[in-house]
Amino acid sequence: MKPVNRHKARQILETKNTSCRLEENTLFISGQLRVNAAGDFTRAVLKEFRAYGFPEITINLKELDDIDSAGVTALFYVKRKLSAKISGIRIEGGSANINRKIELFSSEIPIEKKPEEAFEITEAVGTETYKFITSYLYGFLLLTADTLYWAAADLFRTKTTREGEFVNQSVNIGVNAALIIIIMSYAIGFVMAVQSAQYLRDFGANIYIVDLVVIGIMSQMGPLITGVLVAGRSGSSIAAEVATMRVTAELDALKTMGLEPVRYVVVPKLYASLFTIPLLIILSNVSGIAGGASAAFYSLDITPEIFINRMAGVMQNKDLLTAFVKSQVYAVIIVLTGAFYGFRVEKGAEGVGKVTTQAVVVSISLVILADSLMAVLFY
């Protein structure tokens, strides 16, 4: 405790419009106690009285000109905070106007805070697992069933969606992704060949660069690059679109107009993906092999003619088939994951961002997992 002269008036707060001084055990507030000063007032008073043990104090308002709701709340806040240590706290001396405001703003606030629940690890694990199965897994299966059902049912009906929607979505998901896929695949094909060229040269197995590039790109890298890029591009946009539609009640509007949201929003995207992803994979394969061929030419002197001749022997029909199967699986994963997270959006703008992120992360992960699984199955 600091030594203190209790009989001398002490200024404890001095700001532009507000000042506060302590005389004996009376706290005089003068000027205005408004929202811009209430914070300083609270801090100054609490700091002052933290160190001293007065039996009782009076807060005198006779010099106070004006107070607002924040000021009144600050007075009562200070009173409540100090009442643990100081038994008698009185507030007095305010003008009629000030007392009226104090009365208006001092309405006893029933503070209902949620009781903190005890954390049980086993219970939490159980609840989360249960939630995962009933909410995520069940919801995902339901959406899958719905989408596939409508996709099959509407295959030859054109009236159920907007006119030109298939072309529109194909452009969005497929055509607009073509350039980035071509560039990325070329780069990866090129790097693959450059990196292995040195080792092949050491063994005198230069010509095997063709096998390496063609098998690597056709059976693995091409489909995978395409899947990951489309998941990043279109997975996010599908999730964001569906989520925004849900937040702005557009999905409800569709429903009340008798249009099934899944059928109207998700199915055209699924068709477009099923149609364009195989084409993108072909582009990716061609571009990746071209990248590999150019690296082979520069680092191992294998001319394009030799490369193409050798390539014809290495390529297998099976690779084309597996690439097609993969493309269809990726299309379903990307569209369904995007839509699934979009439909799960909660709480407006922030929620849209959240589900979009989740959709991208989950669809890329699922694409990679599916790729590994199929690699094991097909070879």
Partner: protein
């Protein structure tokens, strides 16, 4: 009486369409000034000018005695600290709880300690009968509650001036009346000046001290509510005639 708003010769254009034509009016301290007029009469455009959301191109607009045309951003921000705005559909942040929404201006415009802000927010919500809504999200509230939360946020800083953009839109008559009473309380108990844009006739009759009548971008009438009701201007007669026919039907 002290003028809180003074508009003189304000013109506004959108592309080539003139929206406001030589608009002049004033609003006074401690009064509720209602700007009325049919759809497309320029009410919202005036409000957006007053809020500094549209720059003043031709004319003069002053708020609380300060000319706001060409005011630098920092000074305009100081102006914003002295006014509260109650948007038509609440414009609450959907990802924040009611308590966090109301606390927003307090957190960003003052240096109050956190527990004190919470007390102020709870008190303000209490004033508007929203104690129980503190932890709820806007999506969990009814239309009337949303409006009251928006009002609570508008008065969080105890501003001397608040703007209400169609506060009654989409409310049932009973909720509308209680909202009007809340606004009257703000005027009577806190001396807040209110500028309200509305076309709810029942609201105008309950709360307006002063009426500014707009028609096709021109001020046709400015004066007290009583004067407005007996005005001989044909457009105003038409506007209030709905009320008379209602009245006749009732009797």
């Amino acid at each position: 009486m002290e003028k809180v708003i003074h508009v003189e010769g304000l013109y506004a254009k959108y592309d080539d369409t003139e929206i406001l034509h030589n608009v002049s009016f004033s609003a006074f301290k401690g009064e509720i000034t209602v700007i009325i007029g049919g759809s497309g009469s320029g009410k919202t455009t005036i409000l957006r000018h007053l809020l500094g959301l549209i720059p003043v191109e031709k004319g003069y607009v002053s708020l609380l005695g300060k000319d706001i045309s060409g005011l630098p951003e920092k000074e305009m921000n100081d102006m914003y600290h002295q006014m509260g705005v109650f948007y038509q559909n609440g414009a609450l942040m959907t990802s924040l709880t009611v308590g966090e929404n109301v606390a927003m201006p307090l957190i960003h415009q003052s240096n109050l300690p956190k527990p004190l802000i919470e007390d102020i927010v709870r008190m303000k919500l209490g004033l508007l009968n929203l104690e129980k809504a503190y932890d709820l999200y806007p999506s969990q509230l009814s239309g009337g509650m949303l409006k009251r939360v928006a009002l609570a946020r508008a008065i969080a800083m105890d501003p001397p001036l608040i703007f209400c953009d169609e506060p009654g839109a989409g409310l049932d008559p009973v909720s509308l009346e209680s909202l009007d009473n809340l606004i009257l309380n703000l005027r009577d108990q806190l001396g807040i000046s209110v500028i309200m844009v509305t076309h709810e006739i029942s609201s105008i009759l309950r709360v307006a001290d002063r009426v500014v009548f707009l028609n096709q971008g021109k001020v046709l009438f400015e004066g007290s509510r009583k004067e407005a009701l007996v005005s001989e201007v044909q457009e105003i007669k038409d506007f209030f005639s709905v009320l008379r026919t209602d009245h006749i039907r009732q009797t």
